[in-house]
Each structure stands twice: as structure tokens, then as C-alpha cells.
Symmetry: C3
């Protein structure tokens, strides 16, 4: 019973939990941004979502693709493609007993890079801002995967 | 060695494992629903998938977008966007040692909300059924993230 | 403190960490393959990505959908839809204390099936190669979920 509170007492695991929660919350925020753009741009994907705008053709014109909505959706999907590996590999990495300072460096760079990536995607900032922030998060995840495989390898 | 069986003996962790497995299986079911609609609607995305319908133009007409298939795919993507944060934040939450009854309340609401969301999306039910079931799952995940950050915060 | 190194000393957990890292890295590789096809096919989704090709209409023609890019993106999304459940259910399964040989069998089949699936999608190989490799990974995940639910069930 006491077990479940022990892992969370480990400083590396606490750091992991903190940054993992932050980037997952950031990813969840993309749902709200999508909803905001869908409502302000009046651009929906499902007929039932436009019912409040009237019936027939008056509602059907809101079933459309909007460039701003698609941009947020691409950012959301990019989050999934990158934050899922960070969450998974980061969890295994945190359980491999890395140095606290090294672990914090990895987690902080990843979280910072993904927050920058979101601003670069949504504003949008000129390239290579988005490319570099994506690459920083990617490189950090590869570095953690290397540690996991060198510590845990059991094929 | 005995270690791996201890976490699973914790009641909160067992509850987490149960509901996490349920919602992940529910998400996996969306793949089968997509396949069902692709086959019955004869609407495929890849040329090699239509080879059994003949060659050339007779097969090419099945490379098309179907409204029912796209609806299931949107539901599947929405699952990914919401069940991934639940899995990740819920795992950290379960390791934070919450009360069993509070934890069960969170897990049950989330699982119920996502099952309702799937029915609301696929039938489809009139809004705000889908919106409210989405919001319930979202709120539960935020509530668990708050607990994780207040217990584990280590920046 | 010593805690975080104990789970990783468990052989089943080490095997899980190894194969989970491998399939997550394989999924991450899809980002690079997408970037490769976007650059060689000159098919981009964001106006800021085409700025280096000049301004106005000369750049705008590269904002287009390319069949090869879309194929990689479908493969990437299919990875997300299948590797996320494997990661989540596999983690719970590894904590349920399965036999090492049974666990290795599950992990190896899944990793092999997903690597085959990627080749079948990208080359592409004629069906049912892609369908069967998808089904093998799916079946393994279901089998692990069954073990998790029969061991941990707490509703």
C-alpha cells in the first residue's frame, strides 16, 4: 500500500512527473484552441455541430475547412507524434536512475522546445523557428532512448 | 524480482490499470469500426487495398473519401487526443497515492464519458451530447493533473 | 532513491523497456520519412515552409498534397493508433508479473509486426501483408490486455 507513494518521492521521478504533466496539459490546450478557431471562424466538421445555425443550406455552409483551424490541428497532431514518445521514453528513462541534473536538463529542454514549437506554429514564426524547436525536442528524446537502451537492453 | 507484482497489488493502481486498459481497448475498437465502414462503404485510402476489386479504373473508383469513414476517423483521433493525456496523467496520479474512492470516481467518470462520447459521435446524437461527454473527460484529466502537480512539483 | 533502479532490474520490465523504446523510436522515424518526402516531392502544408522557394505564386505551388507524403502520414497515424495501446497496455502487463518467456514472445511479435507493417505500407507490398502485420500487433495487444484485466481487475 505504501508502495505507490515511494516512486513519487524519488526526485528524478518527481521531475519527470512535473514536466510530463506540463507537456500533456499543453497538448490538451490544443483542443481548446481548435474549438476556439472552429467557433470564431465558423468552420465545423460535423453536421450536428452546425445545427444551432439553422437548418438546411444555411447550416451546411459552416461545414467547411478553414486554414487557421487546420493549422491548429496540424500542431495538435505534431504534439501527439512527439509528446507520446517523450512520455513513454521519458518514463523508462526516469526509471533508469539518471543523474538528477542530467534528467532535469533533458526534461526542461523538451518542455521549452515544445512550448516554443507551439508558438512558432500558431503565430506563425518564420522558419526555421518551428523546425529547430521540433528538432530540439526530438534530439532530447533520442538521447533519453539511448540511455534507456544502454541501461535496460534485454532483447 | 518480486517487485513487479507489488505495484499491481496496490488497489489504486489496480483500479488505474483496469480503467486504462478499458479505454485503450475502446480506442483500439475504433480501428475495427473504421475497417468495417471502409469495407461496407467501399472507400479506401490505398491503391493496394482495392486490388481485389479488379484492376485499373474499376478499382480506382473505390479510392474515395466517405463521410461515415471520416466520422469514425475523427472519433478515433479525438480518442488519441484525450485518452493519451488520461493514460499519462492518470498513471502519475495513481502513483501520487490518492484516496481509493477519489481515484475510482475520476477513472469511472473518464471511462463513462469516453464511451458516451463514442456513441454520441458514431450514432450521431445531437449536440451538446458529444461536447459535454468530451468536457467531462477533459475536466477529470485536468483534476488529476492538478493533484500530480501539487504533489510532485519539481521544476 | 534506490527505488528507481529496482523496477529496471526486473527482467520482464527490462524487456518491456527495450521493445517499447524500439517501437517508439520506429514511430519517431516516421517524422523524418515525412520530412524527406516533403522536401524531395516539394509538397508542404504551411506557407512559411515554402518561403525559401521564393515569394508569391512561385512558392504557393509547393503548398500541395502529394500521394507519397500522405502515405507516410497514414503510416505514422497508424503507428500512433497501435503503438500507444501497446505502450500503455504493455506497461501494465509488465507490472502484472508475467513469465519472462511469454512476455518476450508478446513484445517480439509486436515489434516485428510493426516493423513489417511499416515496410508493407511504405514500399508498398501487396495486401494482405499490411493487413496481417497490423492484425498480429493488434492481437498481441489484446492478449496482454486480457492478462492485465484478469490480474488487476478492480472496477
Amino acid at each position: 500500500m505504501a508502495k505507490s507513494t515511494q516512486l513519487i518521492d524519488n526526485e528524478v521521478f518527481r521531475a519527470y512527473a512535473t514536466y510530463a504533466a506540463i507537456v500533456l496539459l499543453k497538448m490538451m490546450l490544443m483542443s481548446l484552441v481548435t474549438a476556439y478557431f472552429r467557433i470564431t471562424r465558423k468552420a465545423f466538421a460535423n453536421p450536428e455541430d452546425t445545427a444551432s445555425f439553422g437548418k438546411g443550406d444555411s447550416a451546411k455552409k459552416f461545414l467547411r475547412i478553414d486554414a487557421d483551424v487546420e493549422r491548429v490541428r496540424r500542431g495538435h497532431l505534431n504534439d501527439l507524434e512527439n509528446i507520446v514518445p517523450f512520455f513513454g521514453i521519458g518514463l523508462l528513462y526516469a526509471l533508469c536512475g539518471p543523474d538528477l541534473s542530467t534528467a532535469l536538463l533533458h526534461f526542461r529542454i523538451f518542455a521549452g522546445a515544445r512550448i516554443l514549437h507551439t508558438f512558432a506554429y500558431l503565430i506563425p514564426l518564420p522558419q526555421p523557428s518551428r523546425g529547430l524547436s521540433w528538432a530540439a525536442g526530438y534530439a532530447v528524446t533520442i538521447s533519453m532512448a539511448y540511455k534507456v537502451l544502454s541501461k535496460a537492453l534485454y532483447l
